[in-house]
């Protein structure tokens, strides 16, 4: 016993050092999955308030650029509105399923989206898993797993909320992949290799599908994003001969380096759909 105490006393520093490192490793292991993100995040009160103060200063200098992007988005939305103005929704419901149709006897109501605006108060592109802090939280109705899009394209997914702030994991993250489709409906996954914030990859696209430079890739109904939100633009394709597959390299359409305003999209049907899909999985077992 005496030897044991002497041993502890002699190597106390080393033991304490190893203990702290084990705690750190446990924390890292806990957050290495998508589910563990809630343990520590910049969505808490202190961090959020500090980030907000900083953003208030930087905000002023970005006003001009933001005005431009808002005007452009307005024009785009007006164009889309004009396209739909002459469509008789009831008649053409097979072609363009209206997303907010109330009579479920006529058309299947599969999605009902609520858009909330939010300001980006912190943002990174340099890490392997990048997070964005937003100035909306649980009090504004933001919940986990809602999707975040900007005027230009898909941005990320909410992983954590506090009363007034929330954090989202961005598309630029090794932890999550985004279900995506090409113009002709080919479905695949978009992933990021953790290196260059202006390069996304779409792997395992069959070789016979013709992809051109400049083609846009959109989100699908399968993911947490609303369908048909642009994710990236193809700028390079490489062929893997042995597998007869091609890899597409994309520039993300959202500019992650200077995100200012984003929309938090709530899918009101998401819960019902998730419950149904869970039930189907249970039946399989």
């Amino acid at each position: 016993m005496r030897n044991f105490i002497l041993f502890i006393r002699r190597f106390f520093n080393l033991i304490f050092f190893l203990l702290l490192e084990v705690i750190c490793v446990a924390l890292i292991a806990r957050t290495n999955t998508l589910q563990g993100d809630d343990i520590m995040s910049s969505a808490n009160m202190l961090m959020g308030t500090m980030y907000k103060q900083r953003n208030d200063v930087a905000y002023y200098f970005a006003l001009r650029r933001m005005n431009d992007s808002l005007v452009r988005e307005n024009a785009e939305l007006r164009e889309q509105l004009a396209d739909h103005g002459e469509t008789d929704v009831l008649y053409d419901s097979a072609a363009t399923v209206p997303v907010t149709f109330t009579d479920s006897g006529v058309a299947v109501k599969y999605a009902d989206y609520v858009y909330r605006t939010a300001r980006v108060i912190n943002n990174s592109v340099g890490a392997v898993n990048n997070y964005i802090t937003l100035n909306r939280g649980a009090k504004d109705g933001v919940r986990k797993n809602m999707s975040v899009i900007s005027a230009n394209g898909a941005v990320g997914r909410i992983v954590n909320t506090s009363a007034h702030f929330s954090t989202a994991i961005s598309v630029l993250s090794k932890k999550q992949q985004v279900s995506a489709k090409l113009k002709d409906g080919t479905i695949g996954y978009i992933s990021w290799d953790g290196k260059d914030p202006s390069r996304l990859q779409m792997r395992d696209v069959p070789n016979q599908i013709k992809v051109r430079k400049g083609d846009t890739v959109y989100t699908t109904e399968y993911s947490f994003f609303p369908a048909n939100v642009p994710v990236g633009i193809v700028y390079k394709t490489t062929l893997i001969r042995s597998k007869n597959l091609q890899v597409l390299y994309l520039h993300p359409t959202a500019n992650f380096r200077n995100l200012q305003y984003v929309y938090i999209v709530e899918n009101k049907m998401a819960k019902e759909r998730a419950r149904l899909e869970e039930a189907a999985k249970e039946d399989d077992k």
Binding site: L20, R30, S41, S42, M47, V125, A127, N129, R199
Partner: protein
């Protein structure tokens, strides 16, 4: 000003610089060849490096752990910064022992600085621990050795930028008096 208060103020200043300014600065050397690493310089390990010579190892470890956890919660990287900072807090004493001519207990009331150590030993001390910190941090963050060239490039680029910033900080907060003596303010 007592050493304790001085260190607490320094902790706040360094952390504010790190979180409010440096985290926003995402650097990329030579942006053109695509694939060159994007990185953030890390100044905050300087807090551990500038604690007094005689600080007991246990205190160093606790300070490193708290400092790392604070940065972690700002950057959403639970544990990685804390791991790297505790690592350099533990090895700090060995590096100092190797570089200083006398036993560390003889430098009571002094802190590692250019004045107390001389330029070359100070820069060796800073660079060694910063490289150790960055190597641990980026290895855990990337979590694979399959692309070792990229990892080394990232460590090198980030560490050299951090060391430059640390030298800038040290120069900025040192007062030069007329007789050629210099004094650290913070």
């Amino acid at each position: 000003m007592t050493t304790l208060i001085k260190n607490i103020i320094r902790f706040c200043i360094i952390l504010l610089i790190q979180v409010l300014i440096l985290n926003k600065v995402t650097l990329q050397w030579w942006a053109q060849p695509s694939g060159f690493p994007v990185f953030i310089p890390y100044l905050y390990p300087l807090f551990i490096l500038l604690l007094p010579f005689e600080t007991p190892v246990v205190l160093l470890l606790i300070a490193g752990f708290l400092c790392g956890l604070t940065v972690d919660s700002f950057m959403n990287t639970a544990g990685i910064h804390a791991f790297a900072t505790v690592l350099i807090a533990y090895f700090r004493i060995n590096v100092l022992n190797a570089l200083m001519p006398k036993n560390l207990t003889e430098y009571s009331g002094q802190t590692p600085s250019v004045k107390n150590m001389g330029w070359l030993p100070f820069i060796v001390y800073v660079s060694f621990l910063i490289v150790l910190h960055h190597a641990a941090f980026f290895t855990i963050e990337l979590w694979s050795l399959s692309n070792i060239g990229y990892l080394l490039l990232k460590i090198f680029a980030s560490a050299s930028t951090s060391v430059l910033l640390i030298i800038a900080y040290v120069l900025l907060f040192t007062r030069q008096t007329g007789t050629g003596k210099s004094q650290r303010i913070l």
